[in-house]
Symmetry: C2
Subunit: 344 residues, 2 copies
């Protein structure tokens, strides 16, 4: 049946979103080929999913993805959508369990690209043992969206009491970053603008549920976790600082860095601290557990460059201070203005 759709309809037509025969063909021949979960197969209005009987709390999250270009070094919109939703659940202390996937597709979109994206989504979901159990497909007229937009929502089973919350952050707590920041945004921008500085630059796009799970096994003194996506470290740390009302002091020389990222940022005039990651985590943890957490992270492929990058401080409450490699101090502000659109 896939063959039929691939041969006959190389592009998406409005009929594929009309809810009739062609929608059925698209779903059965292409979408169910990759998302072959037993719950999805009967195409119910809603999937009935089980949750462990001892879980009274679940986590629920949603994100729309409008990244441009759809394919970039290290990933694509499909991988990004699945990983982004998994990561939002993981930083909330939940085990990602179920994902929904809603597609808005532009008339004329290549079915070959759609298949590539679905394949990539399925692969990412499988890797984290997350089930794609429900979805929707809409098609809009040519020129009324930009290729494809994907919205994923996720349900996770809350297993840990940690993270305990912003209110538990106290001066002296350590700030940990799991790896080199900004690689996702740089990879997307270089790909979008055809800037071939370095063919090896790849997005850090990845699901970090495994990395976080390892940490949660060795420490119950994690106050807060967040994946620094839009607005990068700057937005993430400012949100934490204003939420806990202490100062956050970070040290430039502790931020994991590569020569590649540093030089591309210099050429483009970017401050790496404002750039989005899609496979990193910032943790605020009790200082006594910090070294142990970093050492656990470094054993995980996605955390080899983990570092304690700073401390929570009594000074400058609600603000983020960067101590530069030259020893000066400056405030890191919440990013403002449009920055680079459509990086996720």
């Amino acid at each position: 049946m896939l063959h039929i759709i691939a041969m006959k309809d190389e592009k998406i037509f409005l009929a594929h979103g009309a809810g009739g025969k062609q929608t059925r063909v698209l779903i059965e021949s292409l979408i169910l080929k990759y998302f072959n979960d037993s719950l999805l197969k009967s195409l119910p209005d809603a999937a009935v999913v089980s949750i462990p009987s001892d879980s009274e709390r679940i986590c629920f999250t949603t994100d729309s993805f409008v990244v441009k270009p759809l394919f970039f070094p290290g990933g694509d919109i499909g991988k990004l959508a699945i990983c982004g939703t998994i990561n939002d659940l993981a930083v909330s202390g939940a085990k990602p369990a179920y994902i929904s996937c809603s597609l808005i597709i532009e008339e004329g979109f290549s079915i070959q690209y759609l298949e590539k994206i679905l394949k990539s989504m399925a692969k990412a979901a499988r890797k984290s043992c997350v089930r794609v159990v429900t979805g929707d497909t809409k098609v809009v007229e040519k020129g009324k969206c930009d290729g494809i937009f994907i919205t994923t929502s996720g349900i996770g089973i809350k297993r840990y009491q940690v993270p305990s919350g912003l209110q538990d952050i106290k001066p002296g707590d350590a700030i940990i970053l799991s790896g080199v920041p900004g690689m996702h945004e740089l990879a997307v921008v270089c790909s979008r603008e055809n800037l071939n500085f370095d063919m090896t630059l790849k997005s850090d796009c990845a699901a970090i549920d495994g990395l976080i799970d390892g940490v949660l096994r060795v420490s119950n003194r994690i106050r807060f976790m967040r994946d620094p996506t839009r607005g990068g470290l700057a937005a993430c740390l400012n949100e934490i600082a204003s939420g806990c009302n202490f100062g956050l002091k970070i040290y430039e020389d502790k931020i994991p860095m590569t020569e590649q990222v540093r030089s591309i940022c210099e050429i483009l005039g970017f401050d790496v601290i404002n750039l989005a990651c899609e496979g990193r985590v910032v943790m605020i943890v009790d200082c006594e557990d910090a070294e142990r957490i970093v050492s656990v992270m470094r054993k995980h492929p996605l955390g080899t460059r983990a570092e304690i990058i700073g401390r929570v401080s009594c000074e400058c409450s609600g603000r983020v201070i960067l101590q530069t490699i030259h020893g000066f101090e400056r405030f890191i502000r919440m990013p403002s203005g449009k920055q680079l659109p459509r990086i996720c």
Copy 2:
């Protein structure tokens, strides 16, 4: 703060979606004004929600809404998004509990319209006691989407064993329709094309969780429920027929109808059976309970015109047969082709 955003920024800018300061202002001054759930206020990556300790099964659904025009008689894209998600949960036998809301907005979109849509979403959610607990906002460049697209996902608590499923449908079961079909699609199309046949024509867009709840209290012999959206009764009944492998026979003279709907369909050349509803339900129920269910429905404001419109039959397995008012029989086929795009 709303005042500030309304005065300064009458339109949505790319900065509103960049994850920095302006995103924060938009969320805090406008979105949280209407979605003021305690869980949403701290803007976590994922909302931690409670589920009753005796519930081991939950329902999970998602839908993207791309309706055009955004505002139509009887509703708007916001009301449609909330009601659509509530209805998908309700027809699955679940009590709608939590909703996520993800917005993709076009640069330059009117903040006044956005506010109107958010207000409408909040009102619809409140009416069904559903909490909007998590969300996302993305902004794309002018011309890269069409005003606003909304994706809502929902979690419902599965309370009933019914509907028992397509596999339990048997010949003799009754087919019930809760009201006049097709009014949503007609209202949207007339509004889009500026066809002012009758200013009183309104979409049937509504949340039918209350209607369904009433029915579930008086019958545990409901086999299947679905809200006939895209593709209308024709798509809905064909899916049921092919899923249960019996024939479905419906009687044209039993389908609830108004002179208004009939005459607009005649003028436009539409077959009402193909037209989408957004506030109706089709039920397949044990024939012994059918009359009781219809009488319960009729006491609800959204079910006053409920009727038994047909029966499950041994004949023509997998097909839908319509007996016309003239006594002839014809097959109702799965709608095919593009039909009318963007009605939900």
